[in-house]
Symmetry: C2
Subunit: 563 residues, 2 copies
């Protein structure tokens, strides 16, 4: 897997286009006042970047080269720029304008756990900082060295640790190296008819180690669990040796050490390997689309689904705003498609009494044996009907499934046109979902008003649990000027995040803390919770060599993310 | 719920009897050479105990009385003895012989979270030690002050914090005070048709706070989850204020603080409240008995069950030794019972070819709608049959369900007769279950041989997960003399625990660490794991006021539990 673009999401040459989506241009013009045909504002050219020379003491360089071999120690300018930060919207805006961070002084690519240990020891000897790097897809500022870091900074890119080492078929466990990317992991497991079943939107560009370090969640979490449920054993190189958590299904051995590693964002060490739960590739897998009269109806259906004797693999309900966006995203509809679409709209509005402005698209996924899937479909169909839902078949689900990994590219497409667009997600209880939704939408729209910009906010529910679910918000607006964009973005993003913690929800369901969300940690887990994390990080890494400043950052807690 | 006996398990006047179990006496005589009719060796009388005066500085007493009211500050001798330690076998042997621990100087019973805060502040001002107390059922030495503790020791008994404060029916969450005992919790939830579904063997004598502090697991964990899965929100009084974890179904907000509180055994604070997931009382609930030709067949059936499209609430397979014990435990069989039993044995041995010495009893529980239960029964019946299993109906399951909370009393019954009997449990992967089982049985029997005692070890599998299960061992032997019993017990118990960690398993699946298991922590979670726990405890409680010496204990790690 080649590294992503230095200035944006995904592979060079791949991007988002409106040209095959005839309804999208008018939709964007209408909602945020951006003309998609207008010439974009491209990133500055790479050769215009002011890249400072790496600060790599000769002894440290020699130690690193001895650790991994000279060809795996890089001080290449592009490599350093790519590894300097992640892909938060703040990162993208800054990279595009040539505003580079404190770059790492070297990128080191270990080929084994022994290599990682040698790197760690070399870094400690040289009083250097170590930042692990997986796919570089972080959108919470977890990868960037502090601006004023005066010690050498080593980015440890684990891309060579990419193998499935063993599949224990009796226990349905796979021992996997941490640097494997999503598609390569599924390919290796698929060869023996297994699947990991973890499909976050970042899947093509993120790694197992990154998922663990950020507490990731994938679209099929309803069936497969969040990454925190899927990891059974762990290996992590730390300043005091290699942490070895043996694979056991559950343990009562004190506060959970694996649950400290999960979400640790490099602050405790470099994850080298995990033993994860895997499942047989299911005989059948399908995602069905449903229309509900309102978002509230769809949410109520998912709430009932989560409590009952069902076993959906995917649950997702878009609000009316996101539903309209989804309809506008349709690729090159044929005349027949259009006819069906018109007929459907006529049917749901005239026969079922749906208000086209309020109706909501939902997806429910099923998998397993054919018999199981058929039984689930029938039972869930009856449930959806009780909430006014109409099944619209497998077509929209197939489309959603194919296109979901393309969604992150839209941010670059919009930035090209001077419009910041981003996401913020959270989780809360079922009883708090609709009040929270209303509060967050009010906060986002209030922020647009405060800025006097034309903005659009939309939301979906996904990842259902017995007691609640994730709400995932997407927003975009037309910035007033390139220079003002970052501040304007920050105001909207902060309004949304603040609404989360002000209304009983968490700062993130699966995007981690990093530096982006650190200012809301105190309100999320209270001062004693922050003190526990602080005790752990400071006590375990008193020299602050491990990705300092992330999650708990005194600066972050005081001042919020740097604008 | 009155406190348990000062010298043994359970309520005064309740005990285990062999008299209604005609086969048990001969079984015990045969297996460990103990004559159940022989006069027992009772505990010393309470008035023979040498109880040192409490060391409670006047100012601390005054502060505590101001915090909770004078009637809730006790220095009563019996109260102090009951709160001085838990109910590990080591505890029982010592209590019975009058060998008391460092007793708490006062027992304080807060009526609110504010009371707990006032107690904590008073204790910190007085440089006192605080040990939370729920039901006192710990069997891992989590409740006892260090022998050489020179500061005042306050036992904080949370029994008055016993209310279900709120049931959020939409989210299926209950906000519950930490001191509620199992039966009282189910009673309060049952009144509104909900259940928590957590039924550890200690259920009548343990509390929600204790379950959380020790990472407990109940017999229906296959459906309801372990306590670590069931807790969504938490409140805990700490030296730096009240930790408040809001109830969310999942979060990506750094290393999991709730998962640090789970299993913390009072080392981070006093849990006052939790928001836990609850479920509607099921329409139907049943536990069916099955006979399998061998333990391996039963285990294989459970392994397949855990991977498939089933949803059992209970899975349990006894090995042949425990199966024979179960048969010996039958209460007053009628002539018809006996006839049925003989007929069953004849049927399984002659018609099915089972070896009566090797066959194994298993239980599988089902619950939900009648339709769901019926479908599960059929599907699981077919699965069991594929592994040579025979369904023997609901009778044994009803009996098991009624009697399971009586089992802990057997230890006192055996101690009365000079025979130590105890349990050790662990968890491992499916592929490692049978090798581990063999290794542990060899270790136990090797220990009996080394001591030249007649001993019996038996085991069951319970708590199935996708990737593995719990193995629960019970052992008993005839001690050579009262004075030698503790050392002999320690040798057997240690051999079993050592076999766990030597063979890839964890030191405990649901009995916690305390001081009993602290010496195996390093081998279980490796040195960096211990260093993380140490960083957390030492950094968060640098004055070591919170239940010092538990889980990570330098003394424990060096020398093992004190014999």
């Amino acid at each position: 897997m080649p590294a992503m673009k230095w200035w944006g999401w995904g592979a060079e040459g791949v991007g988002f286009s409106h040209e095959d989506k005839p309804a999208l241009g008018p939709f964007i013009k209408d909602k945020i006042g951006v003309d998609v045909r207008a010439k974009g504002a491209p990133p500055v050219a790479f050769n215009e970047l002011a890249i400072v020379e790496p600060m790599l003491p000769e002894e440290l360089r020699a130690d690193l080269e001895e650790a991994v071999g000279a060809r795996f120690v890089s001080t290449d300018a592009l490599d350093r720029v790519v590894h300097g930060r992640g892909k938060s919207l703040r990162d993208l805006i800054r990279q595009r304008s040539g505003d580079l961070p404190r770059l790492p002084d070297a990128i080191v690519r270990p080929g084994s756990e022994e290599d990682v240990t040698a790197i760690m020891q070399a870094a400690l000897r040289a009083d250097a900082v170590v930042i692990p790097f997986g796919g570089g897809s972080s959108i919470s500022g977890s990868l960037q060295a502090p601006d004023d870091e005066s010690r050498p900074v080593i980015s440890v890119d684990v891309e060579r640790l990419d193998r499935v080492l063993e599949v224990d078929e009796q226990s349905r466990l796979a021992r996997v190296q941490a640097g494997v990317f999503g598609p390569h992991l599924e390919e290796q497991l698929g060869a023996v008819d297994y699947t990991f079943g973890h499909f976050p939107d970042s899947f093509p560009h993120s790694t197992l180690g990154g998922w663990i370090a950020t507490r990731s969640s994938g679209m099929q979490s309803d069936r497969y669990g969040d990454i925190a449920d899927m990891v059974k054993g762990l290996r992590m190189v730390t300043p005091v040796g290699t942490l070895v958590i043996r694979p056991v299904p559950a343990a009562s051995n004190g506060p959970s050490v694996p649950q400290m590693v999960l979400g640790s964002e490099g602050r405790l060490g470099i994850i080298t390997e995990a033993t994860v739960q895997v499942r047989r590739v299911p005989e059948q897998r399908t995602i069905l689309g449903y229309l509900f009269p309102t978002f509230g109806d769809g949410v109520a259906a998912m709430r009932e689904l989560a409590a009952g004797e069902y076993s959906a693999s995917v649950t997702r309900v878009s609000d009316a705003h996101e539903t309209q966006f989804s309809f506008a995203m349709r690729v090159n509809p044929t005349p027949l498609d259009k006819l069906q679409s018109v007929a459907l709209k006529a049917y749901v509005s005239r026969r079922l009494g749906f208000d086209p402005e309020r109706m909501c698209l939902a997806f429910i996924g099923f998998e397993g044996s054919k018999r199981h899937v058929a039984a689930e479909r029938r039972a869930v169909g009856r449930l959806a009907k009780r909430h006014g839902g109409l099944c619209v078949g497998a077509g929209p689900g197939v489309l959603y499934d194919q296109k979901k990994f393309d969604i992150p590219y839209i941010r670059d497409f919009l930035l090209d046109r001077g419009a910041p667009g981003d996401v913020s997600e959270t989780a809360t209880t079922w009883s708090n979902l609709m009040p929270l939704y209303d509060a967050v939408m009010a906060a986002a729209n209030g922020a647009f008003d405060e800025l006097s910009v034309q903005g659009y906010a939309m939301c979906h529910l996904s990842h259902s649990y017995h007691s609640g679910a994730c709400l995932y918000f997407t927003f975009a607006f037309k910035g007033t000027s390139p220079g003002a964009m970052l501040g304007e973005y920050d105001l909207v993003k902060s309004a949304i995040q603040q609404a989360f913690v002000d209304n009983g929800a968490t700062l993130s369901h699966h995007h981690a803390v990093g530096t982006e969300h650190a200012q809301w940690l105190l309100e999320d887990i209270s001062a004693p919770g922050v003190a526990m994390l602080d005790a752990l990080f400071e006590g375990f890494d008193p020299g602050r060599h491990l990705n300092p400043g992330k999650i708990v950052s005194r600066e972050g807690l005081r001042a919020g993310p740097p604008v």
